[in-house]
């Protein structure tokens, strides 16, 4: 049967069913009701009300009300809602019902999405955290991970910058790797998505509309995550999107408007300060360079930016309730606070979850699509706005350089090493992109006949994205004046295909009071990254000589094949054993090393179910869990690191023999013995709940050891075609403690107050780093800084936290002013040299915490989310590079502005390696304050909720730079995170 005919037939059937249904309804009656929580009488919204034995149903509105037509008085209504015990009633003669639902006992049968299926929450024995939509961070959330920022212990979400659409660095328990990726695996509706960036998108996750997300489940330790074995070393984030619901079609429309303001900028010298410094310290030639203006360059490039975000969704069921659906669309249009920048996103999502053959075959189809367009503001303007001479005007009187004032050499061309007019950098560039992404999957879950409890599940999924854009810089622009501008299109595609198949068998074995749940399956996933290579073009389209690529495109990729199994055995609802085993093959390794085996085992003990505690009413939950697991890591930049190949040099790196030029062929470095990096984790936890879970929480400790760390390390010179090889070396070890507490101090009919707090302590330490250990090895230099060429400020060093700062110990005078160039001779050998550098602090916090609270009083709600980080240090590259006299009056023939820190130090030359610049960047940030008002039914069947937010309200920190929260700890003129004011309207109808 062709698809066409199938659809036609389905349509005809649907029509017939509708006619039939109308006839049926005509004979029955309509009943109404209100569903409330048995505990406090609050309405239960979105509860499902169905007529038993049929597929007809509806859901309650925000007030808990429903209305449904029944055939006759014998009809049985089934009312259910997540977290409540299902309730059934026979209609009888009554037409209006007041129904109270009781909370499910100890959330006994609540299920949690885990890898490859769900698990009863009570059976969980690993470190799993769930955040559902009602607990999401509220406000102008443009990228999904921000929904849970500060909400989960052990999960650190740091926005990379304030640029519109930019992403975040996500770390679960601090990351287990050094050079390999420390990003967690993100799985959306069963499809592990591609974490890698794509040209034209600053953040792959921003292609997903946060409004479509129902829950986040975070698998933090290997005993939970081992089912994703190969890719779970850094934890797994499972994102489940909103699904269709049986019942009357309901719509939701939300509109948000927000304004973002740059509220803190780099503290630079004023024009007058620069004039007085140059007049005193400059040479006559430098004094002659001074201008008469007073330009605040940062003021010139930043603005208040506006944005709108609209979302519309419909939930219901087609075909007489047989095809539950959810369909949604969103549109976001956001300007950046850096002038010219803009981000627009259109998203659409569809979910269909029909059941066939008496629901024995369940199908779940998810399709998500998005289109984003970006105008990338030239972020180079931010640094140049700090350094550009404030005594100069924005515009010149000449049309050259786009009319912007620029530094020039004696020949009138832009000075080679000078900075550029920041406004010119913004307006002479036009870099736009368009990115499409679609993620989809179809999952078939079939209840096999003859063996009760046996299911087969097939999941087919894909994740494709396509990014293209053009970077255009005017031929008049100073920064590309010599090369006559840029006209460079780019194009990239990423494809990720997935096939997963598993059997699941779950059964209660009453004879021994046990339950068994077994899963076994296999998966195949394939990634391909396609990109075009274009010649380098000038603004007028001319090709830069010899820039034609050797190959017009490439499509590197990798493949993973996996076999996995899971056994969950629970005895007497008190003792649970979970065992996972997974083996993965990765195309990144050679035949002999490609398969890795990743087992895990965990046990849980529900202590409050024991007789000695059963009657202690105050304890509603007490559970002890301990787990051990091994996971693997293969997510590193080298896709083919084990294969010896030769690589052709490009046409600008030919070598001349006689009168002809020859394209060079270079053997690439390789490590034939490359193998899996493996992480072993031990996790122990106590979950508790008191007074009907009014106070609940978890205390969790872990030790994580990674061995065969994949890292780029120096290898003996002469042993390979490189001096730093990507290979398995070293070990890293982390220890940590997480505490989560949630409390509901007040819960009455009209008032509910919730507080949640989480606290994490985690310290990673490098325990081995070289192929051959050497105690004198001063570590791997990392953390490149601005200033000079190739300067680095951090080291990976054995016995320390990764990327610790490696600096000289500054000596101060009596007034506590640093003395230029004077450092402590730490090794007491009479000379100050590299041997006196020492490890001083790390950019990673030892402690971080999140606090959130929410209060509802009648129709009003108010809440906040706060995040904090203690013990993280930042290197003020801004001050080290720009807070010295040499920055302002330099030997290169131009003047520049400097950071105000120069007034504190009076340094003449850059002292890049002074620990003076490594500063405590612990902070407490009020991320979000939100208010809401439920206006109730504003028109017939239309309910309205009004919200207002302030985001990035304040930051408490000793750190003097623009923002204490810096990914990687090197503060080098970041795109400042704006403060955001949001106003939103939300209609239900």
């Amino acid at each position: 049967m062709t698809l066409h005919r199938l659809l036609a037939r389905a349509g005809a059937m649907a029509l017939m069913l509708m006619v039939l249904a109308m006839n049926v309804f005509a004979q029955g009656k309509t009943v109404t009701g209100k569903v409330t929580d048995s505990k406090d009488g609050t309405p239960v919204a979105n509860a499902s009300v169905t007529i038993k034995g049929t597929s007809r149903g509806t859901t309650t509105d925000a007030g808990g009300n429903f209305r449904i037509a029944v055939d006759n008085n014998n009809a049985v209504l089934v009312i259910s809602s997540v977290g409540f015990t299902e309730y059934e009633l026979t209609v009888g003669a009554q037409t209006d019902f007041a129904i109270t639902l009781a909370a499910a006992q100890g959330t006994l049968n609540e299920v949690v999405v885990v890898g490859y299926g769900t698990q009863r929450k009570r059976d969980l024995s690993g470190a799993v955290a769930t955040v559902s939509s009602k607990d999401f961070v509220k406000g102008a959330i443009q990228t999904p991970e921000q929904l849970i920022a500060g909400k989960v212990a052990g999960v650190q979400i740091t926005p990379n910058s304030g640029a519109p659409g930019s992403g975040s660095r996500i770390r679960i328990r601090g990351g287990a790797s050094l050079n390999a990726s420390n990003d967690p695996l993100i799985v959306i509706d069963g499809v592990p998505v591609d974490n890698g960036g794509i040209s034209g998108a600053t953040n792959p996750l921003n292609l997903i509309n946060p409004n479509d997300i129902e829950t986040f489940t975070i698998l933090k330790d290997p005993s939970a995550a081992a089912i994703y074995g190969s890719r779970a070393s850094n934890g797994v984030i499972l994102i489940t999107t909103k699904k269709g619901k049986k019942g009357k079609t309901r719509f939701n429309f939300s509109a948000q408007g927000f304004v973002q303001t740059p509220h803190k900028l780099v503290d630079v010298l004023t024009a007058d300060e620069v004039r007085s410094i140059v007049n005193v310290k400059g040479t006559p030639a430098q004094v002659a360079l001074l201008g008469k203006e007073s330009t605040d360059w940062q003021d010139q490039i930043f603005r208040n930016a506006f944005a709108q975000d609209f979302n519309l969704s419909a939930t219901g069921a087609f075909a007489n309730g047989k095809w539950p659906f959810r369909i949604s669309g969103g549109y976001l249009n956001q300007d950046g606070i850096l002038k010219t920048g803009n981000f627009q996103r259109m998203t659409g999502a569809l979910n269909l979850s029909p059941g066939f053959f008496n629901n024995k075959l369940k199908v779940d189809l998810n399709l998500k699509g998005s289109r984003t367009t970006n105008f990338f503001a030239n972020e180079g303007a931010i640094g140049n706005a700090v350094t550009f001479d404030p005594t100069k005007p924005v515009n010149s009187n000449s049309a050259r350089y786009g009319g912007y004032w620029e530094w020039t050499d004696p020949d009138g061309l832009p000075t080679q090493l000078s900075n550029r007019n920041p406004v010119g950098l913004l307006y002479n560039r036009d870099n736009t992109s368009e990115v499409y992404r679609s993620i989809g999957n179809i999952q078939f879950d079939y209840q096999l006949p003859f063996v009760k409890g046996l299911r087969a599940n097939l999941n087919l999924g894909y994740d494709v994205s396509k990014g293209s854009g053009t970077n255009i810089v005017s031929d008049s622009a100073a920064d590309t004046y010599r090369r006559k501008g840029i006209y460079n299109p780019y194009h990239q595609e990423r494809t990720n295909k997935l096939m997963d198949f598993y059997f699941n068998y779950a059964s209660n074995i009453r004879a021994v009071n046990s339950r068994i749940d077994v899963t076994a399956g296999t998966g195949y996933q394939d990634f391909e990254f396609y990109s075009f290579n274009n010649p380098d073009r000038r603004y007028n389209g001319d090709i830069v000589p010899e820039s034609e690529p050797n190959f017009i495109s490439q499509a590197p990729g990798y493949t993973l094949i996996s076999y996995y199994g899971r056994l969950v055995y629970s005895l007497a609802n008190k003792y649970t054993l979970t065992a996972n085993a997974r083996t993965d093959g990765s195309s990144r390794f050679s035949k002999s090393t490609r398969w890795g085996f990743f087992p895990s085992v965990a046990v849980a003990w529900q202590i409050n179910e024991e007789n000695f505690l059963k009657d202690v009413k105050v304890i509603s939950n007490l559970k002890f869990r301990v787990g051990y697991g091994v996971t693997g890591q293969q997510d590193f930049p080298e896709l083919y690191g084990y294969i010896p190949v030769y690589e052709l040099a490009n046409n600008q790196a030919q070598y001349q023999f006689g009168n002809s030029f020859v394209n060079m062929l270079r053997p690439s470095a390789y490590d034939a013995t490359l193998r899996w990096e493996t992480t072993t984790n031990i996790n122990a936890a106590i979950d508790f709940g008191f007074v009907d879970n009014r106070i609940s929480g978890t205390v969790e400790g872990f030790v994580r050891k990674t061995k065969d760390l994949l890292s780029v390390v120096p290898i003996p010179a002469g042993s390979n075609f490189t001096n730093q090889l990507f290979t398995n070396v070293g070990n890293i070890e982390s220890k940590g403690l997480e505490v989560t507490i949630n409390a509901v101090p007040v819960k009455s009919k009209n008032i509910e107050w919730e507080i949640g707090a989480n606290f994490t302590y985690v310290v990673p330490e490098i325990t081995k780093l070289l192929v051959n250990e050497d105690p004198n090895f001063t570590g791997l230099a990392v953390g490149g800084i601005s200033g000079g060429t190739g300067n680095t400020i951090q080291r990976h060093i054995v016995g320390e936290r990764p990327a610790s700062f490696y600096v000289y110990k500054q000596i101060y005078d009596a007034n506590n002013k640093p003395i230029e160039g004077l450092y402590e001779d730490l090794n007491r050998d009479g000379i100050i040299n590299e041997k006196d550098l020492y490890i001083y602090q790390s950019p990673e916090a030892r402690y971080f915490l999140g606090v959130s609270s929410n209060i509802t009083i009648d129709r009003f709600t108010a809440g906040f989310v706060m995040r904090g980080s203690i013990g993280n240090y930042a290197y003020s590259n801004v001050n080290a590079n720009m807070g010295v006299l040499r920055q302002i009056v330099n030997p290169l023939g131009f003047l520049a502005n400097g950071s105000k820190d120069y007034l504190n130090t009076g340094f003449v030359n850059n002292q890049y390696f002074s620990d003076y610049y490594v500063q405590n960047a612990s902070f407490l940030r009020m991320d979000n304050i939100n208010f809401g008002y439920d206006a109730g039914e504003v028109a017939k069947n239309v309910r309205l909720r009004i919200t207002a937010n302030i985001q990035n309200v304040f930051v408490l920190s000793k750190y003097k730079g623009v923002d204490a929260e810096i990914v990687g700890g090197i503060d080098n003129t970041i795109y400042p995170r704006p403060r955001t004011y949001v106003l939103g309207l939300n209609f239900d109808f």
């Binding site: 190959f551 896709l639 001063t778 023939g893």
Partner: protein, 526 residues
């Protein structure tokens, strides 16, 4: 139960099917050649040979940068010439640099440590070249070549390429011998992986280089017959001459007689001086130039990198200097101490055309090393053509100037010095003819017989060969490098100059290399 067995067998079937998929895990890297496909023709060998030579001139596989050969150092400063030049010139009276890049001022201060990124970079660059050569030499073993069905002229050509590669390797080892003394040592008999090469020493290395150069002589092209840029017999002789001249330093044995033999062999091979000294380091110095024996070749469009002569030209232009004189833009970096201009009768070239300095607003005295205007700028390397044109790069960023590693003038000077130092087989009179040829080209009056001394040679070498990467080796040979008897501004980090420890005659083995390879022992004092 029957049903269950059906399930189990279908599961097994599925597994079998998937096992078939396992070959999907064998992926190959796009746009690369598996090593087996490289050496199937002479053309393939030639492309790898281009890399062997190119690894001495460029920084990596992508011009101007983006895919470097050497890690742990900024790519733009990771090429052989830029690093070699810094190690040989910035540590001497011939050059100072204004910049503040990590470790760069250590050269003036003579306090570099084993973690200095520049001396590290040069060590790794040289060992990289050696490893690359080892690969080519392994793959061009005659048995392998014939086994691949390559015979006749093609096989002969590959044989010559192999000898050239052994020459390049010998040259890289000479650099390691001269600057580092006792590096890790590998040959074509070592594998590719992550093993620990053994350490060599100056005596062993000297013998090895000497043996290699003599062994390949027969297989190299005759002097002046190879393609420009490729090494011939004269290149091998030149390196032998240089090696023997410094033998006293390297192995504490005089080899002046051998230095005479090999320099003479080059001189007699038919080379001649380029008529105008000031054309030597210009954009078209590859054209009609009878003087160059072996060069590193650059092209402003086709062979680009941020080091090499691009560095030498750009870095030497700054301040108020006229940008058009050198033909490229300025990075405001390198100048000279007054020791160099003081060797000339006049800084503007009157009386000796080899004096090429930018004076203008430049000061001959250096009060501040970081101030470009302190110290005269040297405008020896200019990306202009003899006819007044510019280089081929329309953006005036990259240089076309080829760098002479060996040129005839050096052979004249080796001959003269070796004669004066007591070598046999040469004559003072012949030496004077050579020296007068250099003077004459520089428009200096000819000197009479009996005029010159050993000390004259080192000054004449500075006048003739300054900024060509000789100075440190020369100063060491003349006991003037670390000693307090010969000082220059900012020697040892002191304005008036100071003597430093004799340890400084050798650069340290990089600390990262000592850490990575337990077979290596650091020089005492580092």
């Amino acid at each position: 139960m029957k049903r269950i067995s059906v399930y189990i067998s279908s599961l097994l079937l599925g597994v079998v099917l998937l096992t078939g998929c396992h070959k999907q895990l064998d992926r190959t890297e796009p746009n690369t050649l598996p090593s087996g496909n490289v050496y199937t023709s002479e053309a393939g060998y030639l492309q790898v040979l281009a890399k062997v030579y190119g690894s001495m001139a460029l920084t990596g596989n992508q011009g101007p940068a983006g895919n470097g050969d050497v890690a742990g150092i900024d790519e733009g400063t990771s090429d052989f010439l830029r690093l070699f030049w810094k190690a040989q010139e910035l540590s001497t009276d011939e050059a100072v640099v204004a910049w503040n890049d990590p470790g760069i001022q250590d050269f003036h201060n003579m306090n570099w440590s084993s973690s200095n990124p520049m001396t590290k970079g040069l060590y790794y660059r040289c060992t990289y070249i050696v490893t690359l050569c080892n690969e080519f030499i392994r793959e061009s073993e005659p048995g392998k070549v014939s086994g691949r069905g390559i015979t006749g002229t093609a096989a002969d050509n590959i044989k010559r390429m192999r000898a050239e590669t052994r020459f390049v390797r010998a040259f890289a080892y000479w650099v390691l011998l001269d600057l580092y003394g006792k590096p890790g040592f590998t040959t074509e008999n070592d594998p590719i992986g992550k093993f620990n090469p053994k350490q060599t020493n100056r005596a062993e290395l000297f013998t090895y280089i000497e043996g290699e150069l003599k062994a390949i002589e027969a297989d190299l092209s005759n002097a002046r017959t190879a393609d420009y840029g490729r090494a011939d017999k004269a290149a091998a002789w030149s390196l032998l001459a240089r090696l023997y001249l410094n033998a006293k330093v390297y192995i504490d044995t005089d080899k002046y007689t051998e230095a005479i033999t090999y320099s003479k062999r080059v001189i007699d091979a038919g080379y001649g001086l380029l008529s105008d000294y000031r054309w030597l380091c210009m954009a078209d110095n590859n054209v009609s130039n009878p003087e160059f024996i072996w060069t590193l070749n650059y092209d402003g469009v086709k062979s680009k990198n941020w080091g090499g002569t691009t560095f030498l030209v750009n870095a030497s232009v700054g301040g108020d200097m006229d940008r058009t004189v050198s033909g490229l833009t300025g990075w405001g970096g390198i100048r000279t101490t007054r020791r160099l201009p003081d060797l000339f009768p006049d800084v503007n070239g009157n009386g000796d055309k080899r004096a090429q300095f930018a004076t203008g607003t430049q000061n001959i005295e250096i009060n501040n090393v970081s101030e470009f205007k302190d110290g005269l700028a040297v405008i020896k390397f200019r990306n202009r053509t003899r006819s007044g044109g510019f280089g081929v790069d329309p953006e005036k960023t990259f240089s076309d100037i080829d760098f002479p590693v060996f040129r005839l003038a050096e052979m004249y000077l080796i001959y003269a010095e070796a004669v004066k130092r007591g070598g046999t087989g040469g004559a003072d009179a012949q030496a004077l003819i050579y020296l007068n040829a250099l003077r004459s080209r520089a428009q200096v009056t000819a000197a009479p017989l009996g005029f010159y001394t050993v000390d004259y040679i080192i000054d004449e070498r500075a006048r003739e060969l300054h900024w060509e990467g000789f100075r440190r080796t020369d100063l060491i040979r003349f006991n003037r490098f670390v000693e307090d008897t010969y000082l220059w501004p900012w020697k040892g980090g002191v304005k008036s100059g100071t003597g430093v420890s004799a340890v400084r005659k050798l650069y340290p083995i990089p600390d990262s290399e000592i850490a990575a390879n337990p077979n290596l022992v650091q020089h005492t004092g580092y």
